[in-house]
Every structure is written in C-alpha cells, then in structure tokens.
C-alpha cells in the first residue's frame, strides 16, 4: 500500500485586502492553507513587513535600534523615506506616539498634518497606529481619516470602546481598519461582527490579535492566531477570515532584555545582536502562526525574516 500524507481539508480562504494607492499598493491575505503549507494550498501574497516610524523622536530606544536611523528620527518624513530607500520597506507604520495623553499629548490636527505629510511623501501603503486611548484615538484617527481621504490608509487600533466613531470615519473616507482585541478569538470575532453591523465592508478590515515577543507570552498569541486561521480556513467562519497584523516591534524593543548592556551581563551575549534576534525570532514565530503584516523595527531583523520567508517559499 502506498502511504499517503494526510491533507487538511480547507473550506475557506483569507480575504484579500488591497491597501495603498498606485503602483506600490499592496495586497495582503488570500491564503487557502495554513501558513507556508504550500503543499496544501496557496499563499498568493507573501507576508509583508511594515517598517516602524515614530512621529516624535524616541527617547528610550535601545542603542541597537536607534543606530540604523541616526539623523532622521526627528523627521518622520525623512525617516519613512530612509526605510523605503535604504532598507526596502514595502509598507510604513507610523506610530502616533506623540498623541499619548500621558506623554506629549499632541493635538489631533497637528498629528494628522504629520500623517498627511508622510503619506504624501511616500508611495508605499501607510499604517497609522494610535495610542489605544479611546477618547484620544477617536479624535486623532478621525481627523487622520478625513485629512488623508483617498490614500487608502490602514488605521488602528480600533477597539470595542471606540469602534463606532472610528469605524464611521473609515467607511466615509475609505480606509482600512485594524480591529484590535486582547488576545482572544471570541473577542476578535465579536468586534469584526460589530464592525460589519456598523457597515464596514469586509474588504476594509484586518485583525490585530495583540501580540507579544518571545519570553513574554508569545505562545498564547500563537495559539489564538492559529485558532483564528483554523476557524477561517477549515470551519467557514467568515468573521475570522481577515488578514492578521502584528504590531510586534514596539513590544520586543521595550523589554528589559534588549536594554541590558553587554558588559552588565555578558552571559546574555552581545546586546545589539540580542535585540535583533529577539525581534527576528518573535516575528518568525508570528508568521508561522498566521501573521500577514508585521510591523518591525530593525533592518537586520527584517532581513532575517525575509530570508526565512524566502526559504520557506522556495520552490
């Protein structure tokens, strides 16, 4: 008897979502099988990496993370361009850190102007990420939606507490929404249903499952993302057939292990390499769980992840 490798039977497909404008617009999603199961189905659009840009100079970044961006961190436009021109970024993720009410608390108009400048200056798709403060995000992200009409941005995070108003703006000015929930498949599905009830088209939704890095509970994120893919691909769960965005760099570069200098604890190895590897390996894990878009920081970490994707998809 000939041995046959058992195959998963798939009944669903991840939605294809097109973001950005013009030649450099990007389509994500479209998988018909589990991540990199190319022997069972297709992955028409490889996972995309969005490079992180902050709208205000980062004060507490590890040296290793700052180094590639020296000279541009006080200018988001220059920073975004450097990412694209020097490091080949396919997408940019602008983190609106300056709007944090517990930090600089920059106003909505001013923040939206910066977004507009960056969006005008680049041709790759732009993710705009708020601070997860419901009142502030509602104010800021709605203004961004309005000012950047026609840019087809990716706006997040939208949570249960602020989805109505941000959702309405995204519908009105046609941007894609990132539906963000705290690591739970049911909560993710509920928010997607609510966005659907609100009238947000299925082609304008991506999922942020909330992620963390290795050593900080990534197993849990993995399991939730894996279950989302199982529900979407094998259980016809339409409300979970959306591409997944992982905002990972912000998480890994704030942990204590990336900030300890080499000399302080030599057993942890070289500080620079350590940070890069933690980011790269966390990102790889999330790709294997089903991530479609990764927000990343360090060019070398990004290179490692691209290498992995290339190897896994080599024919």
């Amino acid at each position: 008897m000939v041995f046959e490798i058992p195959k998963t039977s798939y009944t669903g497909k991840v939605r294809e979502i097109k973001v950005g404008k013009g030649d450099k617009s990007v389509t994500v999603g479209g998988e018909t099988a589990y991540p990199f199961y190319l022997f069972e189905g297709e992955m028409p659009h490889l996972p995309k990496i969005a490079m992180e840009v902050w709208d205000s100079p980062p004060a507490e970044w590890a040296e290793a993370a700052l180094e590639p961006f020296l000279g541009v961190t006080d200018d988001p436009v220059a920073w975004a361009k450097k990412c694209i021109n020097d490091y080949g970024a396919e997408m940019i993720a602008l983190q609106l850190v300056s709007t944090d009410p517990n930090g600089l608390d920059r106003g909505a108009d001013e923040a939206a102007e910066v977004v507009k400048k960056v969006a005008d200056a680049i041709d790759v798709p732009l993710i705009v990420w708020g601070t997860a403060n419901h009142e502030k995000d509602t104010e800021v992200l709605r203004r961004v939606c309005e000012l950047c009409q026609g840019k087809n941005l990716i706006i997040g995070p939208t949570e249960e507490g602020d989805h109505k108003k941000i959702g309405a703006s995204a519908i009105g000015y046609h941007h894609t929404l990132i539906a963000s929930t705290p690591i739970d498949i049911n909560l993710a599905k509920q928010l997607n249903i609510l966005l659907g009830n609100l009238g947000v088209p299925d082609e304008q939704i991506m999922i942020d499952p909330t992620v963390s890095g290795i050593g900080y509970g990534i197993e849990y994120c993995f399991s939730v993302m894996e279950r989302m893919r199982m529900a979407g691909l094998t259980q016809q769960d339409e409300k979970l057939q959306f591409p997944i965005v992982c905002n990972i760099s912000k998480e890994v570069w704030k942990i204590k292990e990336v900030h300890i200098p080499t000399e302080e604890d030599p057993s942890l190895g070289d500080a620079k390499k350590r940070g890069i590897l933690i980011e790269a390996i966390s990102a790889m894990v999330l790709l294997l769980a089903g991530g479609d878009v990764l927000i990343m920081r360090h060019p070398e970490a990004i290179k490692l992840v691209r290498d992995m994707v290339a190897e896994l998809t080599a024919s």
Binding site: N186, K189, Q190, I193, N197, D237
Partner: protein
C-alpha cells in the same frame, strides 16, 4: 468624658416601619437597622460597592463615606448608603421602597407552582415531566391507638404497653422512641383515657441494610388527632425563601409563601456571606437570619390558615449547599476553597426546634441530599420532582438563579455542573432590579420606529422596578428593534429621548418618573445589560461545556427543563433571542417554576422520594467547570447577543438579518 466617646446613646427612628432603637454614637446605620428589625437590601454585604442600601436621612446627622453610587442629586436630597454611615446624632431615617426587604406585609409572589400545576394538568405531554411511580406514603404517619388501661394484673410499663399496642394493631416492629415522647407519655395516655395518636417518622436507611428504613416514634397526643396533619416544604434560595404548607391528609398544598432571605443584609451572593462568617458570631448571625425568615413564613402561614403550631409534624428542606450549611449551622468556609468540599452531602435528621424553628419539639427536619459544593439539594430535589431519573429521554435540566445549576442525563447517567450567573436573573445587581412581585416590569414591547415602549407590570400597578424575566424580555426586544447592538451597548444616535447618558453610562428610560411608584425614571443601563449578558453567558457556557464533555450537542437534547426564579414567566422566544437557551425546537422546552420546592413537596408526600433523592445524589457525576479550559472560551463566546457564533442560533440570525436601523 472625651468628645469622641462612643458611649453616648442615640435614638434612631425608622420610617415607614415606625420603629425606634437606641444605639451608641458611631454605630453603623446598616447594623442599627438590622438590630431594629428593619430589613435593608445590602447586596454587597456592607462593602459600599453596590449602592442598594440607600436610605434618606430626614433629620439628624450621620458620618458617611460618599461613594460614586450616590448621584449629586441624591446626595443633596439627603440620601446616604446605610452601610457607609455612622450614627452621630439622633436620627429620623426613611427607607425608600427600593432599598426595603419586604417583610411582614409580604408581597406574595404569583405562585409559580400553581400555574405550573394548572399547565401540567392541561396537557398530557407536560404531565410526563412530573415524577411518576411514587405512592402517597408520607415519611411521617399518624396512627390512632386504643390501649387497654393497666391493672394490677397487667402492669407493664406505659411504653411497653404502647409498643405492644402498635405491634398488635399496626404490625410495627423495631421502633425507636424519641425521648420527648417518653417524657410526656404518662400524662398523655391518661389524659386521652388510653386513646392516643402517635406519630412515626421513617429514618435514614441503616448502613448495609439494603436500603431498609426503620421508624422513630416522634410524638404522642391524647385522643384521635389524625384530622390535623400538616407538613412544611421549604426551598431556601440565596435571594428568596419559599414555603408550602401541606395538608398530609389530603395530599395537597394548602398555602404558599415567599420572603426575601434575610441573609441578604449580609451579602447578595453566597461568597460574600461565606466571608461574613469570619466575623465574630458571623455564622450564628446568618443561621439566625435564615431561621428568622423561615419562622416568619411559618407564622404567616399558620395565622392565615388558622392552623395550630403543634399540627405541623414534619419539615422538608431543599436549597443550595451553602444555604443548607448555613441553615444547619455548619462551617461554610471550605465550600469556597479548593477543592470545594462540603461538610456533608446527606444530612442526618435534625430536630427542627434545635435549629431555632418555631415548631413543636417533636418535629424533625429532613434536608434533601446534595452532590457537591455548588450542586446542591435544590437540584437533586428538582431532578426527583421532575422524574428525570425515571426516563430514558435525554434531558437538560437547568435551574436558573444566582447560582446556575445544570444537569444533563437520563435514567442511566447524569452529569452536573454549576456556574456563577450572578443575581441579575433575580433582579440583583441591576439598577432598578427587583424580584418578581407586585410592581415589577415584566412584559415589554417596543415600537421599532421610535423605540416607544409598552410595558406590563405584575399586579397591574405602577411600576417600581424590573424583574429578571422582564430584563430578558426588554433586552430581546431592544436588540430586535435595533436599540442595542449585539454587544449590548445602546445605539446613541437614534431619534429618541429614551436613550440618554446617565450616571452609569448610557441608559434607556422604560418609564418616566410620574408614571412610577418610586418617583424617578425607571431605566435599564448598559451596566445592567452587561450583568445580564454575563449571567446568560455563564449559563450558556455552562451547558455548552457540559453537553460537549459527554460527547453530545444541543440538538441531541430531547427535552429541556427550566426551573428557577425566572421559571414559568420567561418568554422562551426572547430567552433564545438573547442566547440564554439553545436554539432548538420550542416544544422541547418545559418550564416547571421552582423545581427545588417541587421535589421538597413530593418528598413530604412520599417515602419513595426519599429513596429517589439518595439515588439521584449518588448517580450524579459533578464537573468543576472552573477546571475545564474550554469553559472560559465558551463563556467569552457567549458574551454577545445572542452569541459570537450566530450560526448556533439560526432563528435569531434570520430575524437579525432584517435590515437594522442605524
């Protein structure tokens, strides 16, 4: 004496009870009220977080910690939380209707059981849901006996004469004798001129005796008293205590009564009350509170039906495990601690008056057996009462209450579980919640075009609150009309004055102040909706997890029996619409009202039911839901209207698919 001396006496007057009490300065106002016999609802047991114990200080001064539970308007008008207030000067206090536990002039609940029995009689299909194959042979019997008076020639002792007489006349052997009988028998025998009525009670089966029961002689009375023969059945609920006075000669219920469980003043849920027991005399206080409630019911029933106290011969009690332990005065602490072990599953017979119940000293109290800490005698009672253990029909039995209890099985096997639903179904933790008595809004319809409501109030009076089934109906209709979203949040951009922002976030006005008994707008808030969604989510996740764990699905259920507070007044369509019950054919649903009381009553009627209770408690396998990983997943999935997986609710999906107004 120093200024801060706490020895100063202060007089506190409570209205509308019109009672006075003298306490020391600095005494807690809630404690003062309890001491004065004024019963105030204190859901959180005096922690200050629930806001149910609001009182109006009409005169005098209290020292009070203000919490966000009092609105500015209320504070201005002189409302304070009783539990947060200390007596400073002499006081005049008014306890508003919504803070009051209605004792004394008791609002008698519409008797769910009676409606049921009418319904049961109406259709033969429903008849099947009562236990069958039991005979009318109460565990307690009265026997009349004429003895030959003693002579010098026949001079055996009184007791020997009595026992001989019983053996000859009734073929009774191996009777044990209660000492109380011995004490009074010399006079009773002679007073009745050697004509006496004795009472016998079957005992627990002897160990290793193949289930045989022997009898105890519990009472002796002069002459023939067989005409007067009553027992009492109780269901001790966390929120309410229900009683039935039973005529054992005619095998029927003579009267029904309900009272709030007075333990509510020490906490709305079992955990708060268990914690209260850590205070000095805490357990005694709680034991006396429930006994006090039962005595009040007993007195009320006896007075109304002009029955003498000594004609009560037996008491059968069912209730959840914690309530039973409180009643029996057993340390409850370990019920709530891992691994959640009760002190006792099959309580021995106990003299009712030793617990403080105001009945004759001959009366024994029989407490139905329980299964586990959170699957109590109330559920065993319901299972025997409905005869689930007698039939092969696969049944889901659900007791809806503060603590939801679930059984799946049939005559061959049974599994049980419990889940904490919270008090929302009984009107607790709900801004204008109340139990289903006069003045509770129960029926609700809404015009989808302008969200104007039509309400139906129990007793056809002006409303004063919302009961559990009302809450279910309101939620379902608002969801269907598009007033709330599937997340239970109000749509705030609709053209209606009724949805507005209140102290606890958005709310919907069911009834404007002038049309109410409480002179304020009766509203349902997002917090209330949240509590209801959590309650129904816990219930649904409970049976989903339990059914799945035995390899079945909802569709396999041949019958669903719903017992509990919501009981017969629940609208099945609305309950399914919000995802409280599985979306299966409606004719599989049967509502039986208070199952616990039903089983207690049948146990009063028949010794067969005593055996059934022991059998059922023994055959039930309990699942600890908190130990199961899929429970939490099912719970979160159920925190949505009707459910995150709408495909599990095809009939609701269809109705919701109608275009909604935005």
């Amino acid at each position: 004496m120093t200024k801060n001396s706490t020895n100063k006496k202060r007089r506190v007057h409570f209205d509308p009870d019109n009672v006075d009490i003298v306490v020391e300065e600095g005494a807690s106002l809630l404690g003062t009220a309890i001491a004065a016999g004024v019963h105030i609802y204190a859901d959180c047991g005096g922690a200050g977080v629930c806001g149910t114990c609001k009182v109006l200080i009409k005169e005098g001064e209290v020292e009070s910690t203000r919490t966000e539970k009092l609105s500015d308007e209320e504070y201005e008008r002189g409302f304070r939380q009783a539990c947060q207030s200390r007596v400073i000067t002499d006081l005049e206090v008014f306890v508003p209707v919504e803070s009051r536990l209605e004792v004394g002039a008791l609002a008698r609940e519409r008797s769910a059981d009676w409606e049921i029995s009418k319904k049961v009689a109406a259709t033969s299909q429903k008849l099947e849901t009562l236990a069958t194959e039991w005979t009318f042979n109460p565990p307690i019997s009265k026997l009349f006996l004429e003895l030959t008076p003693p002579t010098l020639a026949n001079n055996v002792s009184d007791l020997t004469r009595l026992l001989r007489g019983l053996k000859e006349r009734y073929n009774l052997n191996n009777l044990s004798v209660d000492f109380n009988v011995v004490k009074k028998m010399a006079r009773v025998l002679r007073e009745g001129n050697w004509k006496v009525t004795v009472t016998t009670l079957v005992t627990e089966p002897k160990t290793g005796s193949n289930g045989e029961r022997s009898s105890i002689l519990t009472n002796i009375e002069p002459r023939d008293t067989r005409r007067r023969f009553y027992s009492l059945a109780f269901d001790i609920g966390t929120t309410a205590v229900r009683a039935q006075l039973i005529d054992l000669n005619r095998g029927k219920v003579q009267a029904d009564g309900i009272q709030y469980n007075r333990q509510i003043s020490y906490g709305g849920d079992v955990i708060t009350r268990i914690n209260y027991c850590k205070q000095p005399d805490g357990l005694t206080t709680l034991q006396q509170a429930v006994v006090g409630t039962m005595n009040e019911l007993i007195n009320d029933l006896l007075r109304q039906f002009r029955i003498k106290r000594e004609n009560i011969y037996h008491i059968v009690v069912a209730g959840n495990t914690t309530m039973m332990q409180f009643l029996l005065g057993l340390e409850p602490e370990f019920l709530r601690l891992h691994p959640y072990v009760p002190t006792i599953n099959i309580p021995p017979l106990v003299k009712a008056n030793s617990l403080g119940l105001e009945v004759g000293e001959h009366v024994y109290l029989y407490a139905l057996p329980s299964v586990a800490s959170y699957v109590g005698a109330d559920i065993v009672s319901g299972i025997i009462g409905t005869g689930v253990y007698q039939r092969r029909k696969l049944t889901l039995y659900v007791d809806i209450g503060t603590n939801g209890e679930i059984v799946v099985g049939n005559s061959d096997w049974m599994v049980s579980a419990s889940c904490s639903a919270g008090p929302a179904f009984e009107g607790g933790g709900v801004k204008h919640g109340m139990i289903a008595t006069q003045g509770a809004i129960e029926g609700f319809e809404v015009n989808p075009s302008n969200l104007e409501p039509t309400i139906e109030v129990i007793g056809n009076t002006k409303p004063k609150g919302i009961c559990g089934s009302g809450l279910v109906n309101i939620t379902a209709k608002l969801l269907e009309a598009g007033g709330i979203g599937q997340d239970g949040k109000f749509k705030t951009d609709l053209p209606t004055k009724r949805i507005r922002e209140g102290v606890d976030g958005y709310e919907y006005v069911l009834c404007w102040a002038p049309e109410t008994q409480i002179n304020e707008d009766i509203v349902i808030t997002e917090v209330d909706l949240d509590n209801l969604i959590r309650a129904k989510g816990a219930m649904y996740a409970g049976y989903k997890t339990l059914i799945k764990s035995v390899g079945l699905a909802s569709a396999d259920l041949e019958q669903v029996i719903i017992a509990g507070a919501l009981g017969s007044h629940l609208d099945i369509e609305n309950a399914i619409f919000i995802g409280l019950f599985p979306d299966i054919p409606r004719d599989r649903y049967i509502f039986i009202g208070n199952g616990s009381l039903l089983g207690a009553r049948l146990t009063s009627f028949s010794t067969d039911m005593l055996d059934a209770g022991a059998k059922v408690a023994g055959m039930m396998t309990n699942f600890e839901l908190s130990e199961r990983t899929d429970f939490n997943n099912n719970y979160i999935a159920a925190l949505f209207l009707p459910h995150t997986n709408i495909d599990d609710f095809p009939s609701v999906k269809e109705k919701l698919a109608k275009p909604q107004k935005n």
